[in-house]
C-alpha cells in the first residue's frame, strides 16, 4: 500500500521528455510502403462504377484493395455483446457517409499513394441523405440503413432501450408542475495529437506484426482476426503507446486495411492519417437529442421523469447501442426519481459513425440532467443546491435499472461544492448526509423504490 497517495514518477516520463517514446509513426522499418485511402466524396450514394486500373498500373504502386479483398467484410466489433455487424470494412456497392473508405493503395512513397488515389475513378449515383435524427421517423425520410433508420436489435429485438419503473401516469397526476426541457449536445471530435496510424510487417513465419495506436490491444487483435478469418495466434500486436485516444482509438480503423495491403504486397505498410482525415472521417462523440419532462411538487420533489433520447449513431451502429444502454442507466443522474418512463433510440444518419469518448453515453445525460435540475429549481423558485440535496441518491435508493446504492457520494459532494463557491446552505441542508432516507427525506412517494444495497 506504499504507492497509494504517493507521488510516483511516470514510468514513461523520461522517455517522453527525451523524445524517445516510440509511437507507431516512429517505428523504423525498411522496405516500407505508404498507404492512402480513397474516401467517399458524397454523403450517400450507390457506387455504380469503380475503376482502379490507372492506380493499379501506376509506377510505384504495389497493392490496391477493395471490399473484394476482405475475407469477412462485415464484422460487428461488439457481436459478443449481442450487437450484430452492419458495417463493411471497405464500402461494398454503396457509401453512407462522406469520407467512408472505398479502396486503399500502398505505394513506394506517400506522394505516389496520393496520386494513385486521385487516379481512381468512382461513379456515384447520389441518394438523398438524412442528417437530422429528429426526422428519421418521418414517413418521407430516406431509408438509409438495412435495419431501417434506427437500431432494432436490443434484447427481444426491441427497437429501443426502454426503462419503466413505478407508475409514471400517477406521478404526472400528482405533480404540481411539469418541467420540460430539450438538450442537444453536438458532436465532439477527440483531436488526439497523434493521428491514427498503423504499421503492419509481414513476418517470415507467415504471421503479421501490427504496430497499433489502439487503446484496446486485445480487442483490436480480435477484430483484425475476425475480418481476416485468421486464428489469433497468427497476429502479433505491438502497442500500448497511444498519442491521445480519449475513446477515439478503439474503432480499429486502420489495422485491418493496412494488414490486407501488407499481405497483398508482401511488404511492410504504414497508414498514417492526416489531420484532415481525423477531423472529417474519424469517429466522434455522438450528437444527442434528449427531451425530459419531470413531474415535480412545489416543494421540489421530482416525482417522475419521462425521457426520450435520440442518439445519432452516424451511418453504422458501431458501439452506439452499448453507449445508449449506459446512458439509460444514468438518466436520473445523481438523483432518485421513483417513477420513470425512458425510451432511447440509436438513430442512423449519413454522418461519420460515432463512437466512445470519455464517459461514453453518460456525459450527454449528465449534461442534460444537471441542466434540467437547475431548470426545475428556477421554475419552482427554489435554490438549485437545496433541490439537488433533497433528491440526491442516498443509501438504499435505487437506480433506474433497479440497483440499490450502497455508498452514493452525492450529498457530501454537493455540500462541498456549495462550500467551495461560498454558497450558504441553511442548517438542515448543511447537516444532511448520504445515509438511508428517513423522516422528511422519505416521503410517501419514495418508499416503494427503496432497495437493499446488499442485494448486489
Amino acid at each position: 500500500m506504499k504507492a497509494v497517495g504517493a507521488r510516483l514518477p511516470r514510468y514513461d516520463g523520461v522517455a517522453h521528455v527525451t523524445g524517445r517514446t516510440q509511437f507507431v509513426d516512429d517505428v523504423r522499418v525498411g522496405n516500407l510502403l505508404w498507404a492512402k485511402a480513397l474516401r467517399s466524396t458524397v454523403h450517400s450514394a450507390e457506387i455504380k462504377g469503380l475503376d482502379l486500373s490507372k492506380a493499379e498500373k501506376m509506377k510505384g504502386v504495389r497493392a490496391v484493395i477493395t471490399c473484394a479483398d476482405v475475407p469477412q467484410n462485415v464484422y460487428g466489433h461488439l457481436e459478443a455483446l449481442g450487437i450484430p455487424g452492419d458495417e463493411p470494412l471497405l464500402a461494398d456497392g454503396e457509401v453512407r457517409y462522406l469520407g467512408q473508405p472505398i479502396a486503399l493503395v500502398a505505394a513506394e512513397d506517400e506522394g505516389t499513394a496520393m496520386e494513385a488515389i486521385e487516379a481512381i475513378e468512382v461513379d456515384y449515383a447520389e441518394r438523398e441523405p438524412l442528417f437530422d435524427i429528429r426526422k428519421a421517423a418521418d414517413s418521407n425520410a430516406p431509408k438509409i440503413h438495412q435495419w431501417g433508420n434506427w437500431y432494432t436489435h436490443f434484447e427481444d429485438e426491441m427497437d429501443r432501450r426502454q426503462i419503466r419503473k413505478g407508475d409514471i401516469e400517477a406521478a404526472f397526476e400528482m405533480a404540481d408542475t411539469i418541467v420540460s426541457g430539450v438538450y442537444r449536445p453536438a458532436a465532439i471530435e477527440h483531436i488526439p495529437l497523434e493521428t491514427q496510424t498503423a504499421l503492419v510487417v509481414p513476418e517470415p513465419s507467415g504471421r503479421l506484426t501490427i504496430y497499433s495506436c489502439t487503446q484496446a490491444l486485445y480487442f483490436s487483435m480480435g477484430v483484425v482476426a475476425a475480418h481476416l478469418q485468421w486464428p489469433l495466434n497468427k497476429l502479433k500486436f505491438v502497442g500500448g503507446t497511444v498519442g491521445g485516444g480519449f475513446g477515439g482509438k478503439v474503432d480499429t480503423a486502420t489495422e485491418t486495411m493496412s494488414a490486407l495491403l501488407a499481405l497483398k504486397s508482401g511488404r511492410p505498410v504504414k497508414w498514417r492519417w492526416t489531420r484532415e482525415e481525423e477531423f472529417l472521417c474519424s469517429s466522434t462523440r455522438a450528437p444527442w437529442h434528449m427531451e425530459i419532462a419531470d413531474a415535480v411538487t412545489k416543494d421540489g420533489w421530482i416525482l417522475g421523469r419521462k425521457m426520450l433520447t435520440l442518439h445519432d449513431s452516424g451511418a453504422y451502429a458501431r458501439f452506439s447501442p452499448y453507449g445508449l444502454t449506459k446512458h439509460s442507466f444514468h438518466h436520473t443522474g445523481a438523483y432518485t426519481i421513483p417513477n420513470l418512463h425512458f425510451d432511447g433510440y440509436v438513430v442512423f444518419t449519413n454522418r461519420v459513425p460515432t463512437t466512445a469518448m470519455r464517459g461514453f453515453g453518460v456525459t450527454s445525460v449528465s449534461f442534460a440532467t444537471e441542466l434540467h435540475m437547475t431548470r426545475v429549481a428556477q421554475i419552482l423558485g427554489l435554490d438549485p443546491f437545496e433541490i439537488r440535496l433533497k433528491n440526491a441518491n442516498r443509501v438504499g435508493d435505487t437506480s433506474p435499472n433497479g440497483i440499490a446504492y450502497a455508498d452514493p457520494s452525492t450529498v457530501p459532494t454537493i455540500q462541498k461544492i456549495a462550500e467551495a463557491i461560498g454558497h450558504e446552505l441553511p442548517a438542515d441542508y448543511r447537516s444532511m448526509n448520504g445515509e438511508a432516507r428517513q423522516g422528511e427525506l422519505l416521503p410517501e412517494h419514495l418508499v416503494a423504490q427503496v432497495g437493499d444495497p446488499e442485494a448486489h
Binding site: G60, D109, E110, G111, T112, M114, E115, T274
Partner: protein, 254 residues
C-alpha cells in the same frame, strides 16, 4: 518523393529573384512556407519550379523621410512593434513561431483560404494607403494595394510594400479562439491628411475598403456593397450582424 521533386532556386539578391521568377509561369514562390508547404505536402499544389526567397535580400525594413518600406520577405514578427494598425494585426497572426517564419509578401498574396479568410495584413495596409512594388510579366510596377489585389496578384513577385504612417488609427477584430486564433472579421481604420480609410478582412476573398463608411464616417453604412460569405468560421449572416459593431469600435479610436 514525387511531391517534393520540384527544383528549388535560391536567389541571393532581389535582382536574381526577379530573374528567377521571370513572368511567373510555372513558378511557385516560397518565402516562409507557412501557406505553400501544407498545400504541397497534401498534394493540393504541385509545383513545377520553386523560387525560395529566404536569402534574396528582400527582408529589409527602411524608414526614409516619413515613408516606410517593407521587403516582401520580412517576417511578420518584425511588424509587431511598428506602425498601427499593422502592429496589432501582426501581433494577432497565428503564434510567435509562425510569425517569425511567415512573411509580409506571403500574407499579402495569400489568396483566399479554402475555408477561412487569410491575409490579415491586407486591411491595415489598405488603410495606410500602401503601394506595392512587384515584378513579373510586363516588368516591374508600383501600384496601390487595391489595384494589386484587383489584378493578377497571384502571378506577381512582390518586392516591397511602402506606406506613410497615419495620424490616427483604429483596429477591431473578432477571432475564433485557438492556440492561434482564426480571424473571423477584422476592421482597420486610419485617418491621414484628413482622409478616412476603412478596410475589412473576412467579408470577401481578400480585404476590401468599406466605401460606405469612408464616405459617411458612419458605422451603420458598413454593409454597403458588401456580401460576407459563409465559411467554416462563421456564416455570412453572422458577419453582417457583427460588422457594424466592429466598425464602430475601430472608428472610436480615431
Amino acid at each position: 518523393m514525387t511531391r517534393f521533386d520540384a527544383p528549388v532556386l535560391t536567389p541571393g539578391s532581389p535582382e536574381e529573384a526577379v530573374q528567377a521568377f521571370g513572368d511567373g509561369a510555372g513558378v511557385t514562390l516560397i518565402a516562409g512556407g507557412t501557406i505553400a508547404m501544407p498545400e504541397i505536402v497534401h498534394g493540393r499544389m504541385k509545383p513545377q519550379k520553386v523560387v525560395l526567397l529566404r536569402r534574396s535580400g528582400l527582408d529589409k525594413v527602411s524608414r526614409e523621410g516619413g515613408k516606410v518600406t517593407i521587403g516582401a520577405a520580412v517576417p511578420i514578427s518584425e511588424l509587431e512593434q511598428g506602425d498601427e494598425p499593422l502592429a496589432t494585426a501582426a501581433q494577432n497572426v497565428a503564434d510567435g513561431e509562425i510569425r517569425a517564419q511567415a512573411t509580409v509578401g506571403g500574407n499579402l498574396c495569400a489568396g483566399p483560404g479554402r475555408d477561412t479568410p487569410r491575409g490579415d495584413l491586407q486591411a491595415p495596409l489598405l488603410v495606410l494607403g500602401a503601394q506595392v512594388r512587384s515584378a513579373g510579366a510586363g516588368g516591374e510596377r508600383t501600384e496601390s494595394l487595391e489595384e494589386f489585389l484587383a489584378g493578377d496578384y497571384r502571378r506577381r513577385l512582390v518586392l516591397d510594400v511602402s506606406y506613410s504612417p497615419a495620424d490616427a488609427t483604429g483596429y477591431a477584430a473578432f477571432w475564433r479562439p485557438h492556440t492561434h486564433h482564426y480571424t473571423i472579421l477584422a476592421i482597420a481604420a486610419a485617418r491621414a491628411n484628413g482622409e478616412l480609410r476603412v478596410a475589412a478582412t473576412g467579408v470577401a476573398p481578400h480585404a476590401v475598403r468599406l466605401s460606405g463608411v469612408e464616405q459617411s464616417g458612419n458605422a451603420a453604412d458598413a454593409l454597403q456593397g458588401i456580401e460576407p460569405p459563409d465559411d467554416a468560421l462563421a456564416s455570412g449572416w453572422y458577419r453582417t450582424q457583427i460588422l457594424p459593431r466592429l466598425v464602430e469600435q475601430a472608428l472610436s479610436s480615431l
